[in-house]
Symmetry: C2
């Protein structure tokens, strides 16, 4: 390895938002970069398709207050933001399949249930404030909070059956998994990393407040445009070797690139599948064994117009009956066409995935019809994206920490291993799991690598 | 792929006990087999080294009543079994570092604590009887039991601080992890798969009752001897492709073998790191994202003689102080030399691994000295095996299911994917995680593949 001159200074693995931002920042500092992407397009967990001339987001798409790096990036790239449509009443579907209208984020659940939920929300917020987002494994209660599931906490905290059901639905909507799969500490860390529970759940004033003109994927596409030939598509990285002099990154067709440093900017379960030589330290390897992705199928239903608005509905719906957990109005800014997005997550996503395409379609359209009336059941188009079946994502929105992982092995999440640095929405202590977290992680990795280059330049490179 | 004649009928990936037994059984039926092993020796999580002319087990080594397939295999291979040494008193070290002698499996913990522990053990046994080991995701309480950690159950069930501490120690000794990392349902399934809690914990009458002359690794070595050139060492499998006609298994140096079927007999986190084409179904992939290995460092301390026996001690010790959780007399059958094995597991294993070799040695010898007197602190030899650092194990004794995994995705654990079958100690509904479970899984996979060959022979092979 040491006898060859590197091809570039830094190889970034994964052209999701984290990798793109990292590569872009390095390049603008004069660092030579190569960005290897497994798929045939950039964007990672943001993804766009064209439907009737409009770009539709099949992945992450919202931004909100506090996500400063995303607003800054959008401004820098000349992408306008606009508010998510919220005017009108929201809908809650009961387990029995009855739809009730409500305003704001608190549905009509009956006074006892509402009190129960409000009390739980405020307790979760209070507990979250005790967590150190930079080091969730620290803190006097970390071990106890990491010793149980969110489900256990729900079972003990909520007094009403309706309240417990609502919290399960909230968990599915927020983390795309069941409360049994999630460490309580991780749920609290996630809330702290976002600022508050309202920041996580709200549209106005929260993480769903704004959208990007042309879709979130448009940001990725513009960054890719700037990076040009520095990007290698269809290049799944299989092996990363390092020694004192640098790294060699090998793609699955055998192509190998040499560099001084590498940044791995892929989700944890995919990072685990790269062969590292020498092998990763045990703590880092063991951590990667236990960070599974959430389970989500996202549906995008297109209509000639946003007909629900005329009916006084916002397009935001929650369903206790399922399998659709949540919908949001995702019509283009012009409002000349109607788009509803619907999320099926957690157990319902795993169940739905076992059915035939025709059954899945019928099930989802039936659910939309119950929420918004018969018109909703006959869209012009219905696009499905099952993120669990994407070979180079294998789930979404993000990795979820099971009990024990943060306190046992969390300190290995962000620490570089020699010349290998880590990025991705899961490595950000601010807005973990959000596009904004990915951007921050890419910036942080670029900064760390820049420092590493300046203190220990790759041998064999002209200086 | 389909235009080439296969090299063999079946390729088995991983030459641990499961893979060896599977390959051996297939061969004896006239099925042509190739067995690809990543390491430079067979045996997987059984491993042996020579110390002063005696084979010492660095991995799994015990067998006990109910492990019929292991006794049968030993008999078939001409390997004698002999009882683990138990005569004499056991030792319990308190948190304060005081050593107390006790008989049987119940240490002197004070009457209230003892009652508390006994009650918890009996509840665990009762709960375990409700679990269907073939399908732990079934059963009326499966979701509730899988929704919480063993830690949560301990916190609610045990009334005394001493009792809770003892259960944490028991968890570390049994599963090599913290109770926070384990689904309660998995703990119960594991007990059910072994028959009872006593079967798991006991030496006499339990899974630690007997040892194998020449070590458990000796069985693997004899099976390897029978398989001869069918085994390829130093061949980490990187990719498995399949189509209607067969499979192609590619090692990391590019060597590719064709066959009608493949059996993957490696631990779940390592199976996750193989590239499958087409990609695994989402449920199987998502399951593999969430089955981490336990954490264990095993020490083997050699002495001129088993001096503790003369002092009236059995060599079995439990320590609430740590970092050694448990010791067992592992002297050779002849008794002419003394060997103690010591296990550091869970958090203490992760902590100890961060220290220097000299510090680790001093810490472990100090712990042995406290348990068995100054002689124990000056062994002739001390061998360390940190299973978390083994590139092709990445932990031991076995994979542990976090909350949610069994009920969400457990049905994908054993189901073949086309021409790919699964084996390994984690796939056995009987003696999950034990060598006996590995043997059973190898036999079951051989049977399933034999049926598959008979109903759908690989095209292109002469028939």
């Amino acid at each position: 390895m040491s006898h060859h001159r590197p091809d570039v200074d830094v190889i970034v693995v994964g052209a999701g938002m984290a990798g793109l931002v990292c590569a872009d920042r390095l390049r603008r500092r004069g660092v030579e970069v190569l960005l290897a992407e497994a798929r045939d397009q950039v964007g990672g967990r943001t993804a766009g398709i064209e439907v009737d001339g409009e770009t539709v987001d099949l992945g992450g798409q919202f931004i909100g207050p506090g996500q400063d790096r995303m607003y800054a990036l959008a401004a820098e790239l000349g992408v306008a933001t606009f508010p998510t449509h919220t005017a009108g009443a929201n809908v809650l579907e009961t387990e029995a399949g009855r739809s009730r209208r409500f305003r704001g984020m608190v549905p009509k659940l009956g006074p006892l249930t509402l009190l129960d939920v409000a009390r739980a929300q405020s307790r979760l917020d209070r507990l979250a404030r005790t967590v150190d987002a930079e080091a969730p494994w620290r803190g006097p209660d970390a071990a106890a909070l990491d010793g149980r599931t969110l489900q256990s906490w729900i079972d003990r905290t909520l007094k009403t059956r309706g309240g417990r059901r609502f919290l399960v639905l909230a968990c599915r909507a927020i983390w795309a998994c069941e409360p049994s799969e999630l460490s309580l500490l991780h749920a609290l860390f996630y809330v702290k990393a976002a600022g508050s529970l309202a920041a996580v759940t709200d549209v106005e004033g929260g993480a769903q407040q704004d959208r990007l003109d042309g879709g979130a994927y448009g940001l990725a596409a513009r960054l890719a445009g700037r990076l040009g030939t520095a990007i290698r598509l269809n290049a799944p990285v299989q092996r990363i070797e390092q020694d004192d002099s640098g790294v060699v990154v090998t793609a699955d067709d055998g192509t190998a690139w040499r560099a001084g440093h590498a940044v791995v900017a892929v989700p944890p379960p995919l990072a685990a599948r790269i062969t590292f030589r020498p092998p990763l330290p045990a703590a880092r390897d063991n951590l990667l064994q236990r960070l599974p992705m959430g389970s989500v199928i996202k549906y995008v239903a297109g209509y000639p117009e946003p007909f629900w608005r005329q009916a006084g509905l916002s397009g935001t719906a929650l369903s206790l009956r399922g399998p659709v957990a949540m919908t949001v109005d995702s019509s283009p800014r012009s409002g000349r066409r109607g788009v509803l997005i619907a999320f099926v997550t957690g157990t319902p996503a795993r169940d739905l995935a076992t059915r035939s395409p025709a059954e899945r379609r019928a099930t989802v359209l039936d659910a939309l019809g119950r929420l918004f009336g018969p018109q909703a059941a006959t869209p012009v188009s219905l696009v499905e994206r099952n993120w669990n079946e994407e070979t180079f994502a294998r789930g979404a929105y993000a990795a979820v920490f099971p009990p024990g992982a943060w306190t046992q092995l969390g300190s290995a999440l962000r620490a570089p291993v020699g010349r290998i640095h880590w990025a991705g929405a899961e490595t950000s202590p601010r807005w973990y799991g959000y596009i904004d977290g990915a951007v921050r992680s890419g910036e942080a990795a670029a900064d760390a690598v820049t420092r590493a280059i300046r203190t220990a330049p790759a041998r064999g490179r002209p200086s």
